[in-house]
Symmetry: C2
Subunit: 332 residues, 2 copies
Amino acid sequence: MDLSTVGEFGLIELINDVIQPTLHTPSVAARRTVIGIGDDTAAWAGSDALQLATTDSLVEDVHFSFNWCAWEDLGHKSLAVNLSDIAAMGGVALYALVSLSCPGDVDSDSIVSFYKGMTGLATEHGVVIIGGNLTRSPFVTSSVFVMGESPTGRLLRRSSARPGDVIAVTGSLGAAAAALTLLTREGCAPAYTPECLRHALVRPRPRLNEGRQLADAGVECAIDVSDGLLSDLSHICECSRTNATIRIDQLPVSPECREVSLDPVSLALSGGEAYELLFTCPDRIVQKVMSQLDCPVTVIGQIQSTSDTPSVITLDQDNRPIDTHGTGWRHF
Amino acid sequence: MDLSTVGEFGLIELINDVIQPTLHTPSVAARRTVIGIGDDTAAWAGSDALQLATTDSLVEDVHFSFNWCAWEDLGHKSLAVNLSDIAAMGGVALYALVSLSCPGDVDSDSIVSFYKGMTGLATEHGVVIIGGNLTRSPFVTSSVFVMGESPTGRLLRRSSARPGDVIAVTGSLGAAAAALTLLTREGCAPAYTPECLRHALVRPRPRLNEGRQLADAGVECAIDVSDGLLSDLSHICECSRTNATIRIDQLPVSPECREVSLDPVSLALSGGEAYELLFTCPDRIVQKVMSQLDCPVTVIGQIQSTSDTPSVITLDQDNRPIDTHGTGWRHF
């Protein structure tokens, strides 16, 4: 049934049904919920902990296409990119509000699928989908807001990198970027894209547990790799006023990248959408982190001197600087 | 300069400059701010108070047109519609996050104007613009997320109307709806629209102080009039499982409405965008409220019996039910 037929309130009822599991998990957020969907605002019991909030939007035919991203994928990813920001601060995610705009002729089943995808990821991390908003629009835009907390107050900041820190990254890089490259080649039909690559692109796993473990282990500096490794490392260097070097032969390139005819190193360096955590810390801490985290952690470089004109230098296996163009996703 | 030239980070710097006044007012929110724009998430000191959160979006050519809504108006209104939701709960607004999508060829001055409009309203209410997100999009969508608190825990709920309560509304109704009607007549050029009407449409005043005063006075039920009086009163009746009657001769029709050739009563009954507070309470409380609030408060009807099939009946000056079509804004 299209949305004009179901109507706003019919749709809100449908959505309310789909998101119920997020309220019925034994999570802190569920326990603290006072008002969910259906009044002028959502409400929950406050706490003295440091509060975190972030928002990110996905726009049809800018960030995704329904040619390769199903509604359920979109629901998952819309939440995941926000949870990744909370992870990059070392926080716990608690509540999500969703602003979804779409054409009136969209089928209500599509909206239900969107919320199913989001609910799956939300319940996994104890996040309650507590409110939102639906509006008409010529094409689909999903803006999600996530609220979280830092129970310990120890935050992972972009500005805390210090000379001598090693630079490390969780998981592997390049798979999502490979999929994006194959699926959005201008002027030609989407290339064959292995499902594992497409999955990496549309179903990123936010590193929430890992972010908290990093903060607990004493790491103080992190960012999530959303724009691309070089670009996101530059953000750290600019905020921390430091230079950095990374070595391409140490990059944890996703093995799946090597199965397609693209340059895996370039994907890992400059490709976006990985949603891994890039962090810096003293060497003794990274050793501890490597033994504690369930995912791979790879040291890829080092923070060098402080600098008023911060830069990132990429070194080849012989320690020679190489030229890196394309430094990641450009928003405009 | 267009956005592609300024770039994402140039733009973030510009925005950060514009919103500084929201951080440098002696507000509770400013004092509690820990991290503003520039890291993975915003952060602020938490509190034990009941937390409130809401989100609302404005979409170009669905909710507004640049033919009659300047960028500065859009910034104001994008925040105002969210503050109005916090007001309708009797809360204090604290923090706003802004997801703005727009074409890459938009001038950076336009974005600065948008944030100026928002900053003006934010400082007035002690709200800090603490974070956000900018994305490319074929046309403009603004999604704002506002966090607030209820210092007393006394919330104005849609579900708290009780038989015998009077129904009252702050301010006056119809001016914004008159402007919208004149400016968006299908198939003809926008009609001449007095500036006072256009202003009512693009610069709504959220009733935050009034919402708190209502809660303090013992009012327990309210909603903000965004979809239209009849439509929003129906929401109260559905949530409270009650019937209601209102009298058209008691409606506080905006005097400006009477200067244009539209039916003022119909505008006041069914026109949206007023952002006044519609509330119900025992008669003795409304008397107190009338003497305390700085704005007009008008009793327009009464909550009748409880009902499994709630309805709103509109009565003429002779107490005869009249037929009311068009019950407000349809989102789909």
